[in-house]
Symmetry: C2
Subunit: 333 residues, 2 copies
């Protein structure tokens, strides 16, 4: 294992020190491993909290800021944060209008966020609502998941729902919007290599020089099948067609198209893939209202990519365009 770390046991704590120093607009509660906004509080604004295992950066800490999350709980690598972290985050962002938890569908995350919601409510009276993302069409159940896994749509959801919270919508409206985004989004990914978890010290799975894992999870969980290495054009088909068939998306739909790198794949290759994705969408008569290409929900050093398509009406596109100022996504502010 070759990594820029001091110790597998302190990698998340060490990274949080760097995050705090790199972004003066953010604050870090190091005891609870919570990244939160340092700008002025807005009484009456719904607080948005997310979090999950580390190793997916910039998700979630890199999406804290104006127009997106108010706080993110960092678990150990690929490990759910514990309820105490989420309770701390809830208290930090409670501005009297309730708190929305954005939770990727992994068993540990869902259970811990649920427990935290109940405990925070009991302790402080804050109203907490949870929305779970489960956009990965690859498999029904998986290593850490009952039902579908939450992946790329989480990024788009945090942006869109963050904008809605910023414009003053109430908790029920923000939660409804979050469910709408999740319901309108679908994803699938593939891996060319494994990732290596620091504490494990070796690759999570073995994979040959001539094959790839189609439908891989963001922790290296198995996908649908091992398939032979293919061209970017073929990879785009393998990813886009199952996504389109699932919702289903149809001719005349407009989407936000998101091509995401898993951490070890250079941007050059993501642009090649994005062009192939666009070509397939064109063939289906699907318009691309907005797009996002880059490393946003990663799997440590895994080489590979995922495609997320979000059916986007004027409301979602308008909220997507609203100002955002976070380390990972920034425009208009």
């Amino acid at each position: 294992m070759k990594k820029i770390i001091n110790d597998p046991d302190t990698v998340v704590a060490d990274a949080l020190l760097g995050i705090e120093e790199a972004y003066p607009q953010l604050r870090v509660d190091h005891e609870n491993k919570v990244v939160y906004r340092g700008d002025e509080r807005r009484p009456g604004k719904v607080g948005l909290v997310s979090g999950g295992g580390s190793g997916h950066e910039p998700l979630h800490g890199g999406f804290v800021g104006l127009g997106m999350l108010d706080a993110a709980c960092a678990g150990e690598v690929f490990t759910s944060p514990v309820p105490d972290q989420m309770i701390a985050a809830t208290k930090l962002v409670d501005d009297g209008a309730g708190v929305l938890q954005i939770v990727k569908n992994y068993t540990g995350d869902v259970m811990n966020f649920e427990m935290a919601a109940e405990m925070a409510a009991a302790e402080t009276g804050v109203e907490v609502v949870s929305v779970v993302t489960d956009d990965d069409v690859a498999v029904q159940d998986s290593t850490f998941t009952a039902g579908r896994r939450g992946v790329g749509v989480t990024v788009l959801l945090e942006k869109i729902v963050g904008a809605a919270a910023e414009e003053g919508r109430d908790l029920a409206a923000v939660a409804e919007l979050a469910r709408k985004v999740n319901g309108n989004g679908r994803s699938m990914g593939l891996a060319l290599t494994s990732c290596t978890v620091p504490a494990a010290g070796k690759p999570t799975f073995e994979i040959g020089e001539d094959e790839m894992e189609l439908g891989v999870g963001i922790h290296g969980e198995p996908g649908r099948e091992r398939v032979p290495m293919a061209s970017a054009k073929e990879m785009a088909q393998l990813l886009v067609e199952p996504v389109l068939a699932d919702l289903p998306f149809g001719s005349g739909d407009g989407v936000i198209a998101f091509v995401n790198g898993l951490g070890g794949t250079p941007l050059l290759e993501l642009y090649v893939l994005y062009h192939e994705v666009r070509s397939i969408l064109d063939q289906h008569g699907i318009g691309v209202a907005r797009s996002l290409v880059g490393n946003y929900i990663t799997s440590l050093d895994m080489a590979g990519a995922s495609v997320t398509l979000l059916k986007a009406d004027d409301e979602l596109v308008g909220l997507w365009d609203a100002p955002v100022s976070t380390p990972g996504l920034r425009w208009g502010a």
Copy 2:
């Protein structure tokens, strides 16, 4: 070789199709492989042109836009663009106030940009001035370079000089500023793995599981020496101390601190490294005015990182803070 490409021979052309589709605010001259701004022209503004071999994305195409470059020429992977590309770029951005070329110090780039400057001047009468970056303290001459290599400072320079051009400074002033930034900046990098050039199909160099290449170039050129794998804290020392000694930087100086990933290293590790860099700067009494952490000048899929320090006075910090709107860097706009 496992890459998301169609064909090693078309990877740059294919990526440029994706770049054009991903960023509606940009335009691409596909024949000349030039990425340029699609927003309104500003008569009397100095045009900024850069470029170089591809494989370093987001550099340079991802830095085209308001407050940074006006055009970027994309060579084949790790190969200088040819003069025809640079002449086309020069014509595209000439708004009557002359054109500044920002050139990384590699023999092919320097020669081709020089030739392009003369030919463009002869053909159209446009005044072209060239500034060469050579901030890498690792080695004096190198595989593709007489003198020092141009690396991380190029990113900072394009941002700062782009802001100065945007505020209407003339060509002589913009060129003088560019030389000031290059003179005030120093960098060094290290690699944990090689990169793999698509056309070569195999890693550029071999490296053992227990060693790293200290002072590596952004094309995988040899650095100072092979050293044993080390902790993030030790890596920070190996990178920061030679940089500090070279200018030299001293107690009381303020810097823009830039920790850059080489493409295959996850953001999580860059934050760990950044914290260690900050600790060393603290020990030296050097203040960090601004910082940048992420993958900005990459070497395809190479795992590793570089540190760039730029001695920054109020002028440079003010220009750094000015609005920028490019795919790779964006704030205030």
